[in-house]
Symmetry: C2
């Protein structure tokens, strides 16, 4: 049996591929991400300093046995010889010494977790030779003292302090403030001091033998895999312990060897806006650390074109080569050593959401990637971020944040600060103020305030604190109006001090009192004094995004519709690309000031005549509402849900009525004396109170609402259907193409539909016949009661379409009253992982999702062309959208502002699940 290969030269990448069977993920497993990458660049002809990688397998052997596996050291020596040959230097040579770095590199990046030793190969002799060779003694001894220090710290585990203390003493003695003030001689002296530290702390001398340095450094990297920090990190990130780390030994190159040398970082495109241009900074005659330290002003990468035109040309070539190879914008580290360009690292460049979209669209245009890849690469949360209301950038430029913390939940919030949950609720719900809740940290007692606040700011806690979890997962109520999930939240803004007794927020010289305005940016973690303007992005100005989303629509199997109650919402929905209205709630219209008294009269009516009279007054209003929506959505389906909420919601509360009655009674005593009579008013109030008490339910969520109400009092829905069809006829007469679909809510038993649907169809026929207008319409139902899902087959025999009302379906399936649960146990459940997520935000696939899946299968078994949608809040959540795709929905419907996110999510779902088993029976109606 041939000896196992533990060591791969960077140019042996194909051998590594062959060994693992060709899979690139396995190459990364064997060589680590960095090693695989260096080998890969070498293969495609990018100038990488020569070097080799010791495999993760070697690391695992070392971890197991505490020693190098047989053959490893010999293979390292062979590889080293090859590197020497290629670099034309010799390791340990006095004249032309080869220096190398020794870096860890695991399969998955573990930034800062593991060890690195630079400048291996320097010792008293090679340092001298190198000084002669480079003519730069200061640079050589600075490198040497760094080696001793790093080696001492990393390999010999000497505390950093042991080096830092004598260095500080030395500088103080010399009167230096900065490291740069030290001369070559100083550094030589400091190297000697450091060597003494090693001897004193470790007991033996700093190893002068370069091979010994390399051997010990390699072992140290291996050991660092099982260091506490690394293990903790892996636990947190779910990285298996079994992977091990590779070790990369690479020729050192130096950017500080004169003005023909330099170093820098560069992006292949602009990472802010995505423009196709080289973007980055460099310094001539400098080391990487100098760029980072910011002591000298860096140059824009474009200037390299005049400074070193040939290098610049090569640079452009290499960037092109890398982008072509990696099919994405690259972020590289480079060094120019005496006119020669070396690429030390490349990776996909981090970028803004805007740049992500722009680059993806460019790469498709350049035929580097397919549309499918572009669609998968852009994340839904990036689209979300682009479309979130944001602070006006021009205003932001004129101000500075007074504090910064962890950006725990994105979005822009402006409001008055309050320090107490009850006060927030009072100010928000009663006084209708925009509130920002400010607390040192939050507890379950604070949740009701958090749900009423527009934003949250805390001085303590991190991204997984109570405040952060609640803001992200439970803020939906307050956030709904801002068209986003979660409420903007900044936590751990540690510069601020909050005095709950005095009700003040102090930050340096700044003192803010209860009621003062602030603006909180949950996307950046910044908090500002005063009110900063919020801008709503316009999709039409985002050409790249529009392009991307048009591809999304071509790709997705599901359509994206929107929930809209008014014509203006419908118009907005269309502008965001909605292909229909999935939910138009009719009852919102009942609450409008001029209509509510009529609605109340209708509810209080004791005779059918009185009720009909009130409904006849409402009819023109409803017809007008539908008219506008049909016009805005001409040619697209509009699903109108018939009245759903319990009647008591349209009446004042018993408490308010009681108060009014008491007031009136007291007035009455006075008026009695004055001879005035208010008996009629009192009687009306008392009648209203009586009715409110009659309508009282102990669990209104499960009471007389939806279709149940329509069966008990059919006159209301009859009026609504009349309004729908009269409006449709009117709109059609004006040349538009209305497509009404009528949705009956809360069905639990098919007999409910059998009872109510035929009389509504009759009304539709009557009106269209009378007007002699042909209207395409459907009658369908919401699936929001578990029993409806279970008996979907029977229901689909009557209902012509399904729409999942997943808010209620989640409530009933879990047996959670959302309002109650979010104020009590649900927060704890999510915080402590009893539930993975708030099921009202992210659809519960195992429970609710299974009922949906069953309902679709059963429903289509009775009606193969059954259109199925979703109109709960989940319709705007990417994970939930994916599930809808998997189980075979025809469309998802969400709030207009979330339509773009949903369009991308629908496309991604299709790409990730091109042919889900449960999709077999789908027939699109259009």
């Amino acid at each position: 049996m041939a000896e196992k290969k533990w060591v791969y030269l960077f140019n042996e990448i194909e051998q590594a591929e062959a060994y693992v069977g060709g899979d690139w993920d396995n190459v990364r497993g064997l060589l680590g991400g960095k090693g695989a990458n260096l080998g890969d660049m070498t293969r495609i002809g990018v100038p990488v300093p020569p070097g080799f990688t010791v495999t993760t397998e070697a690391c695992n052997e070392y971890s197991l046995n505490g020693k190098f596996p047989d053959g490893l050291w010999d293979q390292i020596l062979v590889a080293l010889a090859a590197v020497e040959k290629e670099s034309d230097k010799k390791f340990g040579d006095k004249k032309n010494p080869l220096l190398v770095s020794c870096r860890s590199g695991a399969k998955f990046s573990m930034p800062g977790m593991m060890d690195t030793v630079l400048n291996i190969g320097l010792n008293d002799e090679t340092a001298q030779g190198m000084a002669e060779l480079t003519g730069n003694e200061r640079f050589v001894y600075d490198s040497y003292r760094r080696l001793v220090q790093m080696f001492g710290s990393v390999v010999l585990e000497i505390p950093d302090e042991a080096f830092e203390a004598p260095m500080d003493e030395f500088k103080e003695a010399k009167g230096y403030k900065l490291d740069t003030e030290m001369t070559a001689e100083d550094l030589k002296e400091l190297t000697a001091i450091f060597k003494k530290v090693v001897k004193a702390e470790y007991g033996t001398d700093f190893p002068q033998e370069p091979l010994e340095q390399m051997r010990l450094a390699t072992q140290a990297v291996f050991r660092s895999w099982n260091g506490k920090r690394a293990i903790d990190y892996r636990r947190a990130e779910n990285i298996p312990d079994s992977l091990g780390t590779a070790v990369n030994i690479m020729t050192m190159v130096f950017g500080n060897m004169g003005n023909d040398s330099g170093t820098g970082v560069a992006f292949s495109r602009n990472p802010v806006d995505g423009t196709k241009e080289l973007f980055g900074d460099y310094l001539l005659n400098a080391q990487g650390e100098d760029v980072v330290a910011g002591i000298r002003n860096t140059e824009k990468i474009a200037t390299l074109q005049t400074v070193m035109p040939e290098v610049y040309r090569e640079f452009l070539d290499i960037m092109g080569k890398l982008e072509k190879h990696y099919k994405d914008m690259q972020d590289i580290e480079f060094t120019i050593e005496r006119g020669r360009l070396w690429i030390l690292q490349t990776r996909n460049g981090k970028r803004t959401a805007r740049a992500e979209v722009a680059v993806a669209v460019q790469l498709v245009d350049e035929e580097l990637i397919t549309k499918e890849i572009a669609l998968k690469r852009v994340k839904t949360k990036q689209v979300d971020a682009l479309l979130h209301p944001q602070f006006d950038p021009t205003e932001l430029k004129k101000t500075e944040p007074f504090a910064n913390g962890v950006n725990a939940s994105p979005g822009a919030a402006v409001g008055r600060i309050y320090f107490d949950a009850d006060k927030v609720v009072e100010m928000a719900e009663v006084e209708k103020q925009d509130c920002i809740m400010v607390r040192p940290f939050t507890k379950p007692d604070d949740v009701h305030g958090m749900l009423s606040a527009k934003g949250i700011l805390t001085s303590e806690g991190g991204a997984t604190s109570h405040a952060a979890v609640v803001a992200r997962q439970f803020g939906a109520r307050a956030a709904r109006k801002a068209f986003q999930f979660g409420v903007p939240c900044v936590v751990g803004a540690s510069a601020i001090r909050i005095d709950l007794d005095k009700k003040v927020l102090v930050c340096g010289d700044l003192t803010l009192h209860e009621g003062d305005w602030i603006s909180v940016d949950g996307s950046t973690g910044n908090a500002y004094v005063g009110q900063i303007g919020v801008v709503y992005p316009d999709l039409n100005e985002m050409k790249d995004l529009t392009t991307l989303l048009s591809w999304a629509d071509d790709t997705a199997e599901m359509e994206v519709w929107a929930n809209a109650d008014y014509p203006r919402d419908a118009t907005r929905a269309r502008s965001f690309g909605a292909k229909g209205i999935g939910l138009c709630r009719t009852e919102h219209m009942f609450f409008e000031t001029e209509r509510l008294p009529i609605v109340q009269r209708m509810i209080l009516a004791k005779t059918s005549e009185d009720r009909t009279a009130a409904l006849n007054e409402l009819l023109p209003f409803q017809r007008g509402d539908f008219d506008g929506i049909f016009e805005a959505m001409s040619g697209y389906p509009v699903i109108i849900r018939l009245i759903d909420p319990p009647l008591h919601e349209f009446l004042p509360s018993a408490e308010d009525l009681m108060e009014s009655i008491i007031t009136k009674r007291i007035e009455k005593i006075a008026d009695y004396v004055n001879g005035k009579a208010i008996d009629k008013e009192l009687a009306d109030l008392e009648k209203m109170l009586k009715e409110v008490e009659n309508l009282h339910e102990s669990n209104p969520m499960m009471g007389l609402r939806g279709v149940r109400l329509s069966i008990m009092m059919p006159e209301v829905v009859e009026m609504q259907v009349r309004a729908i069809f009269e409006a449709a006829c009117d709109v059609k007469a004006r040349g538009f193409d209305p497509k009404p679909e009528i949705m009956i809510p809360l069905t639990g038993h098919v007999n409910e539909l059998k009872r109510i649907q035929p009389r509504l169809v009759e009304i539709a026929k009557e009106i269209t016949t009378e007007r002699n207008v042909k209207i395409d319409y459907l009658f369908g139902t919401m699936i929001e009661i578990p029993r409806a899902a279970v008996t979907a087959k029977e229901i689909a025999e009557v209902a012509e379409f399904f729409s999942f009302g997943t808010n209620d379906l989640t409530q009933m399936t879990y047996g959670y009253s959302r309002d109650d649960a979010e104020h009590s146990f649900l927060v704890k459940y999510v915080e402590e992982g009893i539930l993975p997520e708030n099921p009202f935000q992210v659809l519960d696939r195992d429970g609710v999702g299974q009922l949906m899946k069953f309902a679709i299968r059963e429903g289509r078994s009775a009606r193969p062309d059954l259109n199925v949608g979703i109109c709960g809040e989940h319709g705007g959540d990417p994970s939930s959208i994916e599930w809808c795709h998997i189980i075979g929905n025809n469309y998802v419907s969400c709030s207009p502002f979330r339509v773009p996110v949903a369009r991308l999510a629908a496309a991604q779902a299709k790409l990730d699940h091109p042919d889900p088993e449960d999709r077999r029976t789908i027939v699109h109606k259009k």
Copy 2:
């Protein structure tokens, strides 16, 4: 092709069987029930007057074509000749005329719906001959005038009135009051008058030709199949129109031919108590009508033994033969004509519930039927009736009902009468009075009163009226304490008049006022003045029932357990044959007077120490409760459900607290003047109010209860589990065998169990280890949240048993809050057939039942020996029990008084579904 056989002589039954392929049901289809029965009796040698049956096929042909099919009349003539021969009489013969009856007889009995003509064959001539032959002219002319009247009415469709008016005139003219006063001559005269009526009304003479009489009568019977009454009846009973009726032509026999003749009815066993003895009445020298009319006192059948010993012997033989043949107690009609016994009809005898059980057990002992048949024959509602609390029979004997109506919902109720729903609720709920609600009829507005009443009495309406439906299907709440389903109800007691304004009930001379006591027997429809004692039956005194139920236990696959919260309930459950406790609710114990303040202290505790201190006080109480139950149930499993209801249920209502606070505040003003201070009391009340407001939930049914509460506040269940295991150890030390099973309520996600169960198991282990006692125990969960059913597989990986809480499961699956729904739409839903039944009473197989079925299958896929039970109210309902058997439950648990019903239902379920598919994986643990 041979001509179709339209006519079968009674002794041609085997030909009929052969024609239809041997199936008895098809024989009844061909010959009708009566015809098949007469043939069957003829075959086994029972003396049936000779005759023949014209088939239903002939009827259908007649209906189709409006005329007799070809060959029918010829076949009738042939059959008639055979009858003439057998009876040794001739049809139309002047000397010895054969008279026949012509009766309809469909496959299913349609009592009173169709027509009969007796004495066919009489005319002026044969009447005279017959009079000579019998020497009884009066009898002959009475028969003749009856023939003319019946023929006129049935065949010629002359209104009854046309005969009754002249007969009344005739009697008046003669000064007669009774028909019996008429002489032979009178009847002869009357016959002549009736013949004139026929001529006048119909236009032609009464047909003198006997064959013409027979032909017309047969056609009239055929036609009656499509009469309006018959069609309406078939619609109501779901009898297909296509069946048609047969016609039975049978030799007339006469019991009034002297003292060697007679007629009567008899049961083969005592139908009241089941004793094995001939039971019945007869009259010598009389016709059937005379027995019914009650003009003469009938003789007990036993006297026949001395009067006609030979006939009596034959009677016994025939009874034995019939019981052996029909394998059930028989109810026969017989006539003795000149010493010869004829059996005119036999059928299975109607009997009391007590007799049903007794006869079934006797027949098994006599090896006439198997135990299985006995178990299927006794109906669960009969066992229910036997075990219902009933009015004391000795008291009933001493009184008379003041009114009688329709027995709409069984059971005995005693209470004060109230005429208004609000008043009933007030008296029942606040004053704790037993109330009987009395109304002319009820409406949806009355439901809240009906649910609080012990009984209901109305003067209008029938068995399907609103009052009847609500009483049967929704009275569960009031009835629960009386261990029955539904509330006793009598409707349509038309003799009473109710004056709602004056609040009085008037019935003849009787006037009852609001608050007066009455007793209502919903089983008999009787209402009594005053309070009649109610007796609770003792199962141990019902030997036959005990025997039957022991067979049921041997037969059933499921066990029957009981729901019991206290030791006395457990003892009762055992006495009724429960094999375990399926639900012991621990929170009832918290409500007891001495404990409630401690429970409240525990709830209000602000520190863990205060809470623990309160719980430590509760611990001994709980331990004592469990101690008694374990002792009573030694050797049998006892499932204890940990705390379930929301905490606010243990605190006073906000309204009550508010009232107390206002009162105290007013007191305080006074006391302030007097120098007393009640600040502390006020502060306590205000603290309590604050807590009650904190605990307020908008939908408490779906809020912080069950396992959710335990996760938020684990101290309570920890105390409960401690109490359970300390009690178990104590009881075991006394030599009993406790088998505790701990049930966690309201699980919706397996993680809830994963969170709470291990710490409870830990406590169990700790106590049993410390005491060094081995206790067999299990930890399981209720399946009452739809999501628990959907994710049953995961849940069964942690839970060791399942118990369906079908009350909550029905609430959540339908999205119905039971309290709200039963007061509003649910009654209408059931009344109007939108739902077939109240799903809280009879399990909804299509919805809730499917979730249960799924849960069992999934649960057992994870844990094959998973024990599954049901502890909702459905556990006592036979239809629901059947479903539990079908889907593979191991047991059902119900209230102790329903255990016997459930035992029979479980056996019947097994007999009807011996091997349901879903039962494959069941493994009984015991």
